[in-house]
Symmetry: C2
Subunit: 398 residues, 2 copies
Amino acid sequence: MVLVRHLCANPGLSRADLAEAVGLTKSTVSLLVRELLDEGWLLEREIVATGDLGRRPTPLFIDPSRLVLLGAEVDIDSVRVVTVSLTGEVLSRASANHGSTKSVKSCVAALTAAMSKLCKQLDPARQRIIGIGVGLPGGVDEANGILRFAPNLAWRDVPFGDLLREKIAGTALAGTPLFLQNEADVAALGELEFSAPQASDPLLYVSLNQGVGAGVIVGGRLLTGSRGFAGEVGHIVLQLNGPACSCGRRGCAEALIGPRAMLQRSDEQDPALSPLAVVRERLAAGDAPTLKAINKAGSYLGMLLQNLAAAYDPARIVLGGAVVELGDAFLKPALKTLNDYAAAANLEPPLVQTSRFGADAVAVGAAALVRHRLTRNVLVPVPEGQAAARSTRDAGIA
Amino acid sequence: MVLVRHLCANPGLSRADLAEAVGLTKSTVSLLVRELLDEGWLLEREIVATGDLGRRPTPLFIDPSRLVLLGAEVDIDSVRVVTVSLTGEVLSRASANHGSTKSVKSCVAALTAAMSKLCKQLDPARQRIIGIGVGLPGGVDEANGILRFAPNLAWRDVPFGDLLREKIAGTALAGTPLFLQNEADVAALGELEFSAPQASDPLLYVSLNQGVGAGVIVGGRLLTGSRGFAGEVGHIVLQLNGPACSCGRRGCAEALIGPRAMLQRSDEQDPALSPLAVVRERLAAGDAPTLKAINKAGSYLGMLLQNLAAAYDPARIVLGGAVVELGDAFLKPALKTLNDYAAAANLEPPLVQTSRFGADAVAVGAAALVRHRLTRNVLVPVPEGQAAARSTRDAGIA
């Protein structure tokens, strides 16, 4: 998979280029490339005759047409599923509500149904799903497929991997490799895997929904922390003794930035509408106190971004999630605050962008998790003291 | 150096154990061990006869007596130098003031003099310095040996590596490999390299002096960020529109936690004393407003630690620096605040300790930087897309 990763980052390399890049002989690389062509990972492009003397080396590319990644987002009341090519193009999408009961069972059922629907749209003669990725709204123990804690769903220690595997056992997806991770983490991987290679490490994806979190990539890998809670930046405290947060603490970023912070007159609130839907309505109506509250929440987002810049020194921060759709009313005060902090210290602010995958960011990111795990096994974090041995052993082939 | 790292983490392994651990043949390992014994990295312990049949394999250890690490701390008005064995024992120490002029030249001169003094105490027939590490009070471009910015010294873009190399050119240290890094970063490496191996990743060292910063270790490596500013946690903002910070921003952790925050009656302040010295005096005298201010600063330290826990999910946080010496009056409210945040969210707080190297933490850490870089070259961060190739090439030998 070393060759695949090289071609992800540098499309168009020849066998000779690859041999030089990975330090293997040209004949070994030719054999490996043959296998990868047969399996559907790579394709060769025709050589255009240029009139030059001699045979030009054949450029190799990742094949976007045969192997397919299946990515899914589990949100608080819905699931969204996409099929994605190896090069990051979304081929199809489906979504479904899994009800307001917050039941794991109905969520897994809705997810399986949506995935099966997309599977049926593939060309079985040509296309094959090589892995399923799922982004979950909470802390995930990836190795064991367990959702540790999803506060907004009140799920704790759910063996999501086993439940999903059981449910797909009777479908065409039975036995497909399955990868689970936190929603912001997978969205960060989506930005890493499917963007043009550029110097953007560390890379942060800040997820702004009912909950606030971040996926953090350092050295090309997810920073997950000692218990899978790294990047829980919604619980960076921005105000001593501030407003109560859903986590039980006071003054957390989530309580100051999230849609609930933009509502002041809870007495008027329609319980059938989500807080964000209410805010969107009032913003559209030009409601002055709401505009003021959004502006204040945006300033706190700027303060959070300053804190993330101080903690990680990111090359790039990507903002995603439903709250971003509030647009300039929310994002302008955030960027102003961040830029003011940078200017006060005479430093360049970090690059801040919105996600180019929009509402698909988490589902596409879950697909990216599959590509990341399948092609990067050489780079799994290794325990202290065994690193060198592992990299000698695993780095070798294809 | 793979073998050296293995023995750092697992003293007493035999050649056969090492061969199995690194995946090389026993005869190759025997050859490499022979070299490392000759060079002074390893030693063999005698086998104690136990009456068992057959020859027992000889246990191998890192040799603490021959190769020596030279570590230095550059502080705002002083330098501190230590010689340290490969296993982390401090062999000797020296310190010197470099004057209040904040001149780079006088600092480099004081540093060279202190290092030369310690060199003369070594046994030239037996001991040899294999590298010099320096911890600097600011952001460091390690690859180029440049101190980017040290706010409390008002130094910007100082080619510290070149200046020091020039100064030691005429001494016994001429040509010795030199490594520079931020003071909190090296102190974090000291905790990593010279502690019993344990599951403590991510590991944070929070440096509490006139400035506040952190060294962050993730996956056994320093997190330095895109410009070398990662871990600048003194500039995590804890109060919107809070008190002015030395960096130019308002409300930074440093402005709320540092010794200046513990002084309220600046009119009474003796300019010949450092803010911390004044605080220490008043604390000893039981001055009530100072006690209250220290308590408040401690609470803000607790808020900062909560924010670091949310950002990195560390397995261990080590506190070091001169402000830690204020003791319980400062640390108790910090831990109470941190534990209250954890309890509110029904989570375990991270493990918090003070540095076991005390006032030597940065100098010993600078020595650890030398061991880290010399034995871990296989793990230098590699640019995206070239990782696998590098690890195949570099992982190989010794």
